[in-house]
């Protein structure tokens, strides 16, 4: 598989100032686990829309994670 094809299989994930490229085909919940993030502490959005934990991440998706913990 060429580098271009491999890239096409991936989704981009952004959390604040961090960005990851991850393999598509996993669920939103699996994505968080893969990044060592607790699903209780983050919401997952795609194109600005909230998606449920069982939603499959597609190649080329732009995913933004929303940290929900606040306070001091």
């Amino acid at each position: 598989m060429s580098d271009v094809q491999k890239q096409a299989e991936k989704a981009t994930v952004v959390l604040r100032r961090q960005t990851w490229e991850v393999e598509a085909g996993i669920t939103a919940r699996e994505l968080l686990k893969k990044l060592n993030l607790n699903p209780q502490s983050y919401l997952v959005t795609r194109d600005g829309e909230l998606i449920s934990e069982d939603t499959i991440i597609r190649p080329g998706d732009k995913i933004r994670l929303v940290a929900v913990i606040s306070g001091g």
């Binding site: 607790n38 209780q40 502490s41 919401l43 829309e49 998606i51 449920s52 929303v66 929900v68 001091g72």
Partner: protein, 331 residues
């Protein structure tokens, strides 16, 4: 098989494992508003004919609360305290901008604003650097000033009720911390409603049964543009550490946080846990300077923060700026 909304079988956007409930966008917003109303009624927080002052910070919880109360038809106005926190990210300015944007979208609502520096001469970080209480971190000074000013403004402007956006994770983190340290006085006082008394508005927490991810989901689904950045001084705060710890527990045992909080409230109500302690500590004194209730005779902790001349200014100096939501009027 994708997760489906329990009500309409459309694709769900959120699953709440502690309730075994998945909902689509439309039904989640409906459920969230309905549950808020139920909580308000269950704990007898306030009635539709009572004006409510909502303490707003620009964050997801307080703006979501204001949004829900307005959607439910309550007379809800906002109060914002400008703290003067910059720390390179213009934290206070950005927060204020989010609140003003919210106000502009809700014609007719009022926003009362107190600027700490303009009113008392110093911003929160400046006071914290000057006084012993703030040494190291300004959070303690900030909390003290916020509580005093929320109460003062609610009382002076005639709001019988002050509502804050505290969610279940906030409440559980405090409960956990106070239990670890056996802070019996704080445990005795912790409740969704703190009754009003002479000098104190009633304080209520209509979101006390929602998980933090639920208030965030509501804000996202309603398109509320909230302050995503955390206060720069909150980095490393105990509350955040406890919330992360409790979320690890929740991930393994869905419903653990809800059970911890509700069983605590039940123990207080049914078993009269801490009831004797509450009675013995009920006596408060009026502060010699501002008149607000305080635990010891003399000047309260807030008034002791400031030099005498700051607090002896004419009354007009302490009146909040009030913005009314006609888009052109809010600048």
């Amino acid at each position: 098989m994708p997760m489906r909304c329990r009500k309409c079988r459309q694709k769900a956007v959120i699953n709440m494992r502690q309730h075994r409930l998945a909902l689509c966008k439309e039904h989640y917003v409906e459920w969230f508003q309905h549950q808020t109303e139920r909580t308000i009624k269950k704990y007898k927080m306030f009635r539709k004919d009572e004006p409510v002052l909502v303490a707003v910070s620009g964050g997801k919880d307080s703006l979501a609360l204001w949004d829900v109360l307005l959607a439910l038809g309550y007379q809800a106005d906002g109060f914002y305290l400008r703290l003067g926190i910059d720390e390179g990210i213009r934290y206070s300015e950005e927060s204020y901008a989010k609140i003003k944007a919210f106000v502009e979208q809700h014609p007719g609502v009022k926003l009362h604003v107190v600027d700490v520096k303009e009113t008392y001469g110093e911003s929160i970080p400046e006071v914290a650097r000057r006084v012993q209480r703030g040494k190291g971190k300004p959070c303690s000074v900030c909390g003290l000033i916020k509580r005093h000013e929320m109460n003062r403004v609610a009382y002076e402007l005639g709001y019988p009720v002050l509502a804050t956006g505290h969610n279940l994770d906030d409440e559980v983190a405090v409960l956990f911390s106070n239990t670890l340290n056996w802070q019996v006085g704080y445990l005795a006082r912790q409740h969704p409603v703190l009754p009003g008394r002479e000098g104190f508005a009633r304080k209520v927490k209509p979101f006390c049964r929602f998980y933090e991810r639920e208030t965030a989901a509501y804000a996202l689904l309603r398109g509320i543009d909230y302050m995503y950045e955390e206060c720069p001084f909150s980095v490393g705060a105990n509350t955040i550490y406890y919330k992360e710890l409790l979320n690890k527990l929740e991930e393994e045992r869905p419903g653990a946080k809800l059970h911890f909080y509700l069983s605590f409230l039940r123990a207080k109500e049914k078993e009269r846990l801490f009831a004797n302690w509450q009675k013995s500590q009920a006596e408060l004194h009026a502060c010699e300077q501002c008149g607000q209730p305080t635990s010891a005779p003399g000047r309260c902790a807030f008034c002791r923060l400031w030099p005498e001349d700051v607090l002896s200014k004419p009354e007009e100096a302490f009146v909040p700026l009030t913005l009314v939501a006609e888009p052109e009027a809010v600048k």
